[in-house]
Amino acid sequence: MNSDRRKILGAAVATAVAGLFGNMGVAQASVEDTEAAIKAFAGDAEIGSGSLTLKAPEIAENGNSVPISVLVDSPMTDDAYVESVVILAEGNPNPAVATFHFSPASGEALASTRMRLAKTQNVIAVAKMSDGSIYSDKRNVKVTIGGCGG
């Protein structure tokens, strides 16, 4: 009796571990793509936090249309403004979502849009300031129905 329970438990743990690694294997490729995309955007600059706020729902019922919004804290003058913000999704077939380009005439570095999410994943925003500094923010969005077709 006792040993049976052990076996079942063992099997359950093995399945769970396999599942975990299996998922990681799949996710890794896109996570690497995302990291490569961040590097291509940010270069070797150090990535800070704060200043940039990424807003996204905690749970998205429909991955076909997920509202997201970015706000960067900046005076938006000719000397100091936000040049661009890139949005990336780690778990999509292709991590690129959108790149916003701001100017001092924006007045405020705020942008909202609606995006597609294939599954539950991290959405990442990276902002580049006019002085070259980089900020990033990340949100995990749980997706009930994926939105990439197929």
């Binding site: 076909n64 997920v66 919004s69 959108a98 995006m115 597609r116």
Partner: protein, 106 residues
């Protein structure tokens, strides 16, 4: 052809930061989907959005297939004088859809 909808305040005070909203109907075919025969439906999206005020670019966006159908944007602009906002959406096929809206700045 897709008909865009834009929302710009009619009036503003000089130096105001105003909110602009745009929506355009477009399927934004991602190139990931397959039809019932298993053939990939070719990608066809709007890949660029630009907003100009009196000829100067205020805000622009490079779009990827992960943007939802009927692309929606909300963003800000600082207005110091009366003028016209021009919005341009570029399709993968090279066509550009344009819309204009005037604003009176006191």
């Amino acid at each position: 052809m897709s008909k865009p909808r834009v929302k710009v305040p009619k009036k503003a005070a000089a130096g105001d930061v105003i909110t602009l909203k745009t929506l355009i109907s477009h399927t934004m075919e991602s190139g990931q989907r397959k039809d019932k025969d298993g053939a990939v439906i070719p990608r066809k999206i709007i890949n660029k959005f630009v907003c100009e005020f009196n000829g100067n670019i205020v805000f622009s966006c490079d779009l990827d297939p992960a943007i939802a159908a009927n692309p929606y944007f909300e963003f800000k602009a600082k207005v110091n004088e009366s003028g016209t906002f021009k919005f341009m959406w570029t399709d993968d096929d090279g066509s550009v859809i344009e819309s204009e809206k005037a604003i009176e700045v006191a």
